[in-house]
């Protein structure tokens, strides 16, 4: 067997109180795609950051082309031919594509930047690897799919032979993901080696040559895609059997709960981000809102929960007109519960205890308050029962919620939100970044609420989640509802086209690649 281009031996990384990686061994052969699979927090990113020089390992060695190396900074990594496409793109929005690509490896002529030569090289690379991009475009004007190409070009511009792609598919539409896989295939054929990090099982089986699974910082196994299945990989990731499908019966929609008329709103940049949104949700059904991030889903949820003013349009909840009502009016009179997309900023006070966080939406009502005095005992009792009922794993009710894992924080929020009388549940990205076990639990809770006759609006950028839970799916594109599909007719392809702004029956399907 050839010498691996990259080998990590017995790598461990300890953070205060956390073991991020423990005795990890990995080999990457030239011209192969190695998938690194694991849940959020399994240590994938930490391991890659070690290889890219952003972290120093606590112990262990890294070998590049058979030689032991010490990678102290990204500068060293780049010098060794290692390139990384980060999960959160590392691009400067106000600079052009070529400026971003050359940053740190600038070509200079007579003391001045040689933009022309760099542009030429960007064009060459984009032709060689089918990564079409305009070198003079400002990065902030580009859609995320193109920004990702810029990131890949950036790595190739530095003559990277080993490419680390950290969760590259999280922000893409299904069609864009296919495009990315074609690029990865092309790179593999040209002899580049790729480490592909993901937690999505389908993707791994589709593209990888070899799959390594990390769990709680340790390598739990390596498998070939041929001999793997989704169920087996999921079990390896989580350490036990997992239900990948959500068991649910057909919906029995009842009365109309949420009704919106021609909603229009502006985003933080004062641009119109919602336009003529008409949405109905009935009792006892789950309506999924699909769409590529940034097409108005966030603002839609904010408008419905009273966090963002409406320019035009009306909102009725349970027959009541709650247009531009305050959040408290909406939660109290509308019976809405809100699982926010950014749980750290909007879902909890991280320095407060679990018990206090559990009454953030009801502390002003009896039994938690008597006159002006907070009733500690009631809050404690409430916490005790919810922690048990919703399986929130916390050392005690007094632990600051910020020190819990993402999954347990989310379970705490769900517990708080749905344990009061509600008629409409708005869940935005309810399982983003949490472990498979918690996802399973939260999905069950959402379906249970539906079966109790609650109307559910589910906003998610994970297509699998939308398809698994929804009874009806609407797709948002550029601030409007671009299409609606019943869950029976929904396919990834159909939704993907709608997400990209193409009506599946129109003739322009083939021109929709970007």
């Amino acid at each position: 067997m050839n010498t691996p281009v990259l080998e990590v031996q017995q790598i461990s990384k300890f953070f205060p109180a956390v073991v991020a990686n423990k005795d990890v061994n990995l080999k990457l052969q030239s011209g192969e795609i190695l998938a690194l699979l694991g849940e959020n927090g399994a240590g994938k990113s930490t391991l890659m950051n070690i290889i890219y020089g952003l972290y120093q390992p606590s112990s262990g060695e890294i070998l590049v082309r058979g030689k032991e190396v010490r990678i102290r900074s990204p500068h060293d990594a780049i010098g060794l031919g290692i390139g990384m496409v980060h999960q959160h793109f590392q691009l400067v929005p106000v600079m052009t594509v070529v400026e971003n690509v050359m940053l740190g490896s600038e070509s200079v002529r007579q003391g001045l930047l040689d933009r022309d030569m760099a542009s030429q090289r960007v064009l060459d690379l984009s032709r060689d690897y089918q990564l079409e991009v305009d070198p003079c475009a400002l990065v902030e004007d580009l859609p995320v799919g193109i920004q990702q190409r810029v990131e890949i070009i950036k790595a190739l511009y530095r003559k990277a032979e080993i490419l680390i792609l950290d969760e590259p598919t999280a922000v893409l539409t299904p069609q864009e993901i296919e495009g990315l896989f074609e690029v990865m295939d092309l790179l593999r054929k040209q002899g580049k080696s790729i480490i592909f990090i993901t937690h999505k099982l389908k993707e791994v089986l589709r593209i990888a040559d070899r799959i390594a699974v990390l769990r709680q910082g340790e390598l739990v196994g390596e498998v070939q895609p041929k001999e793997a299945s989704e169920t087996r990989l999921a079990a390896m990731m989580v350490g036990r059997e997992v239900m990948l499908q959500v068991d649910k019966t057909d919906a029995k929609p009842g009365a109309l709960i949420l009704e919106t008329h021609d909603l229009q709103a502006k985003n933080d940049l004062e641009e119109t981000c919602l336009n003529q949104v008409n949405l109905n949700v009935h009792a006892g059904e789950i309506v999924g809102v699909a769409g590529v991030q940034g097409n108005g889903q966030t603002e839609l949820v904010e408008v419905l929960t009273g966090l963002r003013p409406l320019e035009k349009g009306r909102i009725h909840i349970g027959g009541k007109d709650l247009t531009n009502a305050t959040p408290r009016q909406i939660t109290d009179q509308g019976g809405i519960c809100h699982v926010p997309e950014d749980r750290h900023s909007f879902g909890m006070v991280t320095s407060y205890s679990v018990a206090d966080n559990l009454v953030l939406n009801s502390y002003y009502q009896p039994p938690f308050v008597n006159g002006v005095m907070i009733q500690r005992e009631s809050i404690e009792e409430n916490a005790k029962s919810l922690i048990q009922k919703f399986d929130v794993r916390t050392p005690s009710a007094q632990t600051p919620v910020g020190s819990l894992s993402g999954g347990n924080q989310q379970k705490m929020i769900i517990a708080r939100e749905i344990s009061r009388p509600i008629q409409l549940m708005i869940a935005a990205q309810p399982t983003r970044g949490i472990d498979v076990g918690s996802i399973e639990f939260i999905h069950q809770q959402i379906v249970a609420k539906r079966d109790e006759g609650i109307a559910v609006l589910l906003v998610s950028s994970e297509l699998d989640e939308i398809m698994a839970l929804s009874d009806r799916i609407v797709v948002m594109y550029r601030g409007s509802i671009f299409g609606e599909v019943s869950s029976k007719d929904a396919t990834r392809k159909k939704l993907g086209l709608l997400m990209a702004g193409v009506q599946p029956n129109s003739e322009s399907i083939h021109e929709s690649s970007h």
Partner: protein
């Protein structure tokens, strides 16, 4: 990117418009009108330039610092420190040949300004102090120290005098205004071009912008974010020190306590008004300088129809209007004011 960015065109256009009016006033009967002479006479333009130079240098100082992501409200203090240091250097080398002594004093102004910059850098980078507070520390420190150490008997003998540029200074109107000035004035105007080119056309500039906008991105490309920020705050301090040196060694010739009189803050306004670009800052500084010149011209011409207090208010009113965003949106560097910590830094 084309050299003449929008702000650069506006700034240069404004300067040309003023020169054109001055030429008209000088050679046509327009000059018989008192108001025309007050607004566009050569003396108004001369005064404008003299008032604008410290603002230009101060604003360039702010640009260097803030483009790399460090807020610099301490320009006022760095300027004062530069002025005081220049004065001390000049008054203790009075027996040297005049130009040697002046040159030495300018170097001292630059050096002390640079040290103040490094102090600001150390407080806000190494010790992660809030950058507004660190800037305030600089201001209070400079005001206190310069007042405490000031020897009221010391006298600086001589200052920079005008160096007419052969031929160019003979051109009517333009010559006397632009090409018959003392050396720091020329230097400041040249620095506008130099900083413009350095920021938008060199490796250092590209990295400075990246570090000020998205330091993590710069870091992942192997750029040492904090080292660049130290370097830029030092350059920033040097330019502010030079502005102080200008006040003592070229404009006034002596030191007075608190002689910067808010110029550091107006520089900051010029930098913001100019959207963190050198030419924008030049345009804004010219505008602010012009309002100060008008104040002077009104007095000289004996205009009494407008109360003096209103004219004195003008520079500040224009500053407030400019910075309050009435003139369109400006966009500060995205990462400004946030200390940067490398990802693996804590462990």
């Amino acid at each position: 990117m084309s050299f003449w960015t929008r702000t650069a065109r506006i700034a240069v256009g404004m300067v040309f418009l003023m020169l054109l009016m001055a030429i008209l006033v000088e050679i046509t009967p327009l000059g018989e009108n008192l108001w025309m002479r007050v607004f566009f006479g050569i003396s108004a333009l001369n005064f404008t330039l003299r008032a604008a130079i410290p603002l230009v240098l101060g604003a360039l100082s702010g640009i260097l610092c803030e483009r790399s992501g460090i807020i610099n409200i301490g320009i006022e203090g760095m300027m004062l420190a530069g002025a005081f240091a220049g004065f001390v250097a000049k008054s203790s080398t009075n027996d040297w040949p005049l130009y040697l002594s002046l040159f030495f004093s300018v170097m001292v102004s630059l050096g002390v300004g640079g040290l103040m910059g490094l102090l600001h850098g150390t407080l806000s980078i190494r010790f992660r102090m809030d950058q507004i507070i660190s800037g305030s520390v600089i201001i209070i420190l400079a005001a206190g120290l310069s007042s405490y150490l000031y020897d009221r008997d010391a006298i600086a003998v001589g200052k920079f005098t005008t160096l007419p540029i052969p031929l160019l200074s003979e051109i009517p109107v333009i010559g006397p205004v632009l090409f018959n000035n003392p050396p720091i004035t020329y230097l400041a105007l040249m620095l506008v071009f130099v900083v413009h080119i350095a920021i938008f056309y060199t490796r250092w500039g590209l990295r400075t912008i990246a570090v000020g906008e998205h330091p993590r991105a710069a870091d992942t490309e192997g750029i040492n974010v904090n080292r660049l920020r130290y370097l830029n705050t030092m350059f920033s301090g040097m330019l502010a020190g030079l502005a102080g040196g200008y006040l003592v060694l070229e404009a006034v010739g002596q030191f007075q306590e608190g002689m910067t009189a808010g110029r550091g803050f107006i520089s900051l306004a010029a930098m913001i008004f100019g959207n963190w670009t050198p030419f924008g800052a030049l345009g804004a500084a010219t505008l602010f300088g012009y309002t100060q010149a008008l104040q002077n011209e009104f007095l000289m011409a004996g205009v009494t129809t407008i109360p003096r207090q209103f004219v004195s208010m003008l520079p500040y009113v224009v500053t407030i209007v400019a910075v309050s965003g009435l003139v369109g949106r400006v966009r500060p560097p995205a990462a400004i004011g946030k200390p940067y910590e490398t990802e693996g830094g804590k462990s």
